[in-house]
């Protein structure tokens, strides 16, 4: 009798755990990207006047999809500790604005390209890489999302476009700046950048 219960329990554990383990990050990423595509394809939002409404909707999805603190920390690495908590809050906010303003037009330019999700590799219990491809008429653009599990939710902390990791790219730039300037000066550079865009 006991044996049977144990076997039964093990079976239940297997049934419950395997599917959750295997595909969650991929489903999360795919769901988020599909929500973005839905907004972009939405015929009600096609007019130029609806651009702001579109941006607002995309912002909500972005917040849900990305872990901007993890992203900022990884670009600053050890320099993160040189920032005061207030400066960190401002940095995360400014950095997010820089990214939004530089990529939003590219995203809004979207014209029915296909996005293929084709591979998920778990790198540890709480990190995964999702490989996707954007297929256009003249080329294929590989885009990888690196995700981390925090508080039961998978969030993107790095995007790798054509083999170039965004986090690493910004890390090199910030390292270069912080080698000669202080965090306050870096924030000033970012503020100017946001204004100029």
């Amino acid at each position: 009798m006991k044996k049977r219960i144990v076997v039964f329990c093990i079976l239940i554990i297997f049934v419950l755990s395997i599917p959750v383990y295997a595909g969650v990050p991929m489903t999360m990423a795919e769901a988020s990207v599909n929500r973005v595509l839905d907004v972009l394809r939405d015929s009600k939002l096609k007019s130029p006047a609806a651009k702001e409404a579109k941006k607002e909707k995309l912002r909500v999805i972005y917040k849900d999809m990305f872990d901007e603190i993890e992203f900022s920390k990884r670009t600053l690495t050890r320099n993160w500790n040189k920032f005061s908590p207030a400066e960190r809050v401002e940095f995360v906010k400014l950095f997010e604005q820089v990214l939004e303003k530089s990529y939003i037009d590219k995203i809004l330019d979207y014209s029915n390209e296909k996005v293929n999700f084709y591979k998920e590799s778990m790198l540890s219990d709480n990190q995964a890489e999702i490989q996707t491809k954007i297929v256009t008429a003249s080329k294929e653009i590989p885009i990888y999302y690196r995700m981390i599990l925090k508080d039961g939710k998978w969030k993107v902390y790095d995007v790798v476009v054509e083999n170039v990791s965004l986090v690493q790219n910004y890390r090199t730039q910030f390292n270069d700046i912080l080698a000669k300037d202080t965090p306050t000066q870096l924030l000033e550079i970012l503020r100017k950048k946001v204004k100029a865009q």
């Binding site: 419950l16 395997i18 599917p19 959750v20 295997a22 595909g23 969650v24 991929m26 489903t27 603190i69 920390k73 990884r74 600053l76 690495t77 050890r78 993160w80 500790n81 908590p85 960190r88 809050v89 995360v92 820089v98 990214l99 303003k101 530089s102 990529y103 037009d105 590219k106 084709y118 591979k119 998920e120 590799s121 790198l123 540890s124 990190q127 890489e129 008429a137 003249s138 080329k139 690196r146 508080d151 039961g152 939710k153 790095d158 054509e162 083999n163 170039v164 990791s165 690493q168 790219n169 910004y170 090199t172 730039q173 910030f174 270069d176 700046i177 550079i189 970012l190 950048k193 865009q197």
Partner: protein
């Protein structure tokens, strides 16, 4: 007898083809996906509304407050140092500026005008045509890397695309039926595969980011790229400029987006170039290992393989 043989051969082709193209992971994944989709909503509904209102605020505050050991050295994605010596920085920055102006003042306006006049399929055809002419350099690179299957693929592609692709304007061999993909390799990568490093960073006028190692691509192209054999020299130059305009017309906006996103564009492009080249060389190495004859892939090597692939 002959009839049966052809039937068997015909039968083998499709099965082999499918085994290669669809792979096993996608099947497993799609199964996993369909099952998780049912599980997910339930777990979300249970946990998140209860937890998040009070807890998440604290969590975010804490994340801002903590000083941490942010080394990421033990990270699963070994974030390798992708730095490069840049002793020529003043010169490079000047060249970067020069190329930037060249793009915005000359190349982009011309490409935009050209884009209006010539429809996209034609421009893609022209791109394919020039890409097909890059065959000698890719073929030689594959041979030098002892990548015989890559060299064979390139040779097959060149023959098929030249004959059935109207001199290379079309690319029938990369279609689903033949699945002969262009070998993304060059002489710089070949040196990289054999362990030659970049040395230092150079920005060439017109050609852009490079290094002493990767400059061998430019030298190699001088001998291996057919358009450079056109006489007189200005005709050859004209063809090259046309190729540049045509390729640019297919990706107007990419450079601008990258530049706008960067805090320091010069450093951003330097880093992007180094990352891009490093991963290409790595991908070639992985390919060479995995395409080696199966006899060499004895069990002791295998456990190491998945790490390298990732």
């Amino acid at each position: 007898m002959k009839y049966y043989l052809t039937l068997i051969v015909l039968f083998i082709f499709p099965t082999v083809g499918y085994a290669q193209s669809s792979g096993s992971s996608s099947i497993v994944l799609s199964q996993a996906l369909s099952s998780t989709q049912t599980v997910l909503p339930a777990s979300n509904a249970d946990e998140i509304p209860v937890k998040s209102p009070d807890k998440s605020v604290d969590a975010i505050d804490d994340e801002y407050k903590d000083d941490q050991n942010l080394d990421y050295a033990n990270d699963t994605f070994k974030e390798e140092k992708v730095e490069i010596a840049d002793p020529l920085e003043p010169f490079n920055r000047a060249m970067h500026q020069f190329n930037d102006k060249l793009y915005f003042w000359a190349l982009k306006p011309v490409a935009q005008g050209y884009k209006v006049v010539v429809p996209e399929p034609a421009r893609i055809g022209v791109k394919n045509f020039f890409s097909n002419l890059g065959f000698p350099a890719r073929f030689l690179s594959c041979l030098l890397q002892a990548d015989l299957s890559g060299a064979a693929t390139e040779a097959g592609r060149f023959t098929i695309n030249t004959i059935w692709g109207i001199g290379g304007l079309l690319d029938p061999s990369s279609g689903k039926e033949l699945d002969l993909q262009k070998q993304d390799t060059d002489l710089g990568q070949t040196l990289g595969v054999y362990g030659v490093g970049h040395g230092l960073y150079i920005v060439w006028p017109v050609f852009g980011p490079s290094s002493p190692r990767d400059s061998i691509i430019l030298v190699g192209n001088y001998f291996l790229y057919p358009p450079w054999y056109i006489q007189p020299w200005y005709a050859s130059l004209g063809v090259s400029v046309y190729e540049l305009v045509n390729n640019t017309s297919l990706r107007i906006g990419d450079y601008e987006a990258l530049k706008n996103a960067a805090i320091d564009p010069y450093v951003a492009f330097r880093d992007a170039y180094i990352q891009y080249r490093m991963k290409q060389v790595k991908a070639r190495k992985v390919k060479l290992i995995s395409s080696a004859p199966p006899a060499e892939q004895s069990p002791p090597i295998n456990p190491a393989l998945p790490e390298k692939v990732n």
